[in-house]
Subunit: 350 residues, 2 copies
DNA sequence: ATGAAAGCGCTAACAT
DNA sequence: ATGTTAGCGCTTTCAT
């Protein structure tokens, strides 16, 4: 029984594990067939006696055989790899997209090469070259905002799907959350719990999402025969703007009974100020956020009702479309993924 | 001059770009040498006339030649790729580590294969096999907490570096932030601005970091001839625990003049309650957080003085060590990266 | 200093 | 139904 003093030997033993990876020839030999036959057996190709196929598969398993991707790639010109290009440092939004994509791609034997261009076009070009040199089968392009980015599709010889951050070319394939429908969900929820004087606090005007979410809400309110209460407010995507907006609302429309905020940050800021002003949430004013950003949502007092963009699903769908495109079934245009309402105590008492 | 109606043709032209990648043979032909010579010229190997080398390099550039990684990989058994394995969904801590690693690896011609095991051991094993099948040259293993995780090193035939989340085998190479020194920084800062009654609010007891940060603070206070004020408090990594802790402090040690919190979340919770209780920050009580998590730090009122763990650097250093190990210069043991103090208004007036 | 040739591990066409 | 062979793009001896 080895004790501590043998650790060096143990290390050798372990590294011996890696002696040499079993190769197709090994498998063929062991199964008593030729390489060609072994290859066919393993790939389910050609005409083989079932028993032969079995024998080869068994041999492969015993040897722990895994085909060399390098060799396969050399032959096929493919790499069974997709490049995930994020235009700016991986952030709150790109992560779930990435994870969703990974979920789907992992099942398809595809690996993800990660490249974060840090909002730097030069760096982006560099990465693109690197990825192309590595023969990636396709690209998923993502970013930190839902406004369009310059298209890359025309300059790439492989399929590209934009996820979350769409391409500015409407013919490219982009998968994005449905901000408009998200706004509708929020509006409906508020009217359905009897609110009638509903204000809106958005992010910056230059963000399309600020407008779409308002528009969605407005649509929902119209169905209940009402209008947004007071002027919609626009500012920064910050808690501090949420706080400031709440002050404005308290002055301009003190009779409001609900606020829909275009982000959870804003909603939290709004809640803080309302609460400190003695307004009870949700009794006096109901608050709905956007993003379902768990840190915000749970730290807010009370926890926020919010809209979830299903970013994971956005990533999954994008990855699925990419696989399709790689398989020769391209698609194009803008595809939206529905948002979901998540109800918590900021609109409905526990 | 093409106008919009030619877009289809333009598209063809563009896709023609991808006709066929220039190969080494093309370069050799163009330079009027053999493949072997061209290869040597491009790799700076062998004995070549300078002029020949130049000619080849020029030809390669004109053709936009990039050596096929597949072919190279087939020959060398290496893939010029490292696997980045995160044990749980990419989070706040693993992202900067990953970006730091990417920064360093990108310069070394290395690409990153991303695998997120979602805290699932089965999934982790699956990914490890996939990555090994792809002949990754090494692994960077990371996670969401700074406590040790089970070692993978012995079961992997390639070098492994643990970043942020260390291995439970002290002989493995792990790179982690220096929590102890971070605590010292916080303690020194508080004593240096004249505080003497300094309380501590930690995270869960089961997190080593909770203790290390306290220990660091205590060391610093001892140098100033004082002790932590009141009993150190431990709870969850949540704002709500920060709020609760502040209530406790207000009761148990109302004369405190500073609080060091083991995370920015806690610090924010503490600030909220103190402020609402009419305590002025930093006049009455100075507050120091930990993480330099920008969302928290900037949303807190006032913005938080905090300790930055330099996670990006942790990632960079880990990647550097991995490259060294791959190059045959392995290292081992636990390496700590110093934290930095970031001063904001929660301790020092603007 | 340069060229020729072998071979990395695999698949696909062709032959049997 | 199975075996044989050529070749993917590159590097590396070994000749010259």
């Amino acid at each position: 029984m080895p004790d501590r003093t043998h650790s060096a030997n143990e290390a050798e033993t372990v590294s011996a594990m890696s002696e040499r990876r079993a190769t197709l020839v090994d498998v063929a030999q062991r199964a008593g067939v030729s390489r060609g036959t072994a290859s066919k057996a393993l790939n389910g190709a050609g005409q083989l006696r079932a028993s032969t196929r079995q024998r080869v598969i068994a041999a492969a398993e015993e040897l722990g055989f895994e085909a060399s991707p390098a060799a396969r790639s050399l032959l096929s010109g493919r790499s069974y790899t997709v490049g995930l290009l994020t235009s700016d440092s991986l952030g709150r939004f790109s992560i779930p997209v990435l994870l969703g994509a990974e979920d789907l791609l992992a099942t398809g034997e595809m690996a993800i090469l990660l490249c974060d261009a840090r909002a730097d076009r030069i760096r982006e070009q560099h990465y693109i070259r690197t990825l192309l040199a590595r023969q990636v089968d396709g690209f998923i392009v993502t970013g930190h905002r839902s406004d369009a980015r310059p298209s890359l599709t025309a300059s790439l010889p492989v399929p590209v799907v934009y996820a979350y951050t769409p391409s500015d070319n409407p013919n490219d394939l982009s998968v994005v959350p449905d901000d408009l429908q998200g706004g509708v969900l929020a509006g409906h929820h508020l009217t359905s719990i009897g609110r009638r004087r509903i204000a809106y606090v958005g992010g910056p005007q230059r963000y399309h999402a600020s407008h779409l979410r308002l528009q969605g809400m407005t649509t929902a309110l119209e169905q209940a025969g009402i209008q947004p209460h007071g002027e919609p407010l626009f500012g920064e995507w910050r808690e501090s703007w949420g706080r400031q907006a709440a002050q404005i609302l308290l002055k301009s429309v003190p009779d409001l009974d609900a606020v829909f905020c275009a982000s959870d940050h804003l909603a939290r800021g709004v809640c803080d100020v309302l609460r400190e002003a003695g307004v009870s949430i949700p009794d006096d004013v109901a608050v709905v956020g956007f993003d379902n950003y768990s840190e915000m949502v749970m730290a807010a007092r009370p926890p926020l009702t919010t809209i979830d963009m299903n970013l994971r699903k956005v990533g999954e769908i994008a990855a699925g479309h990419l696989l399709d495109a790689i398989a020769g079934r391209p698609r194009s245009g803008l595809e939206t993924v529905p948002c979901e309402l998540v109800i918590r105590e900021s609109t409905v008492k526990d």
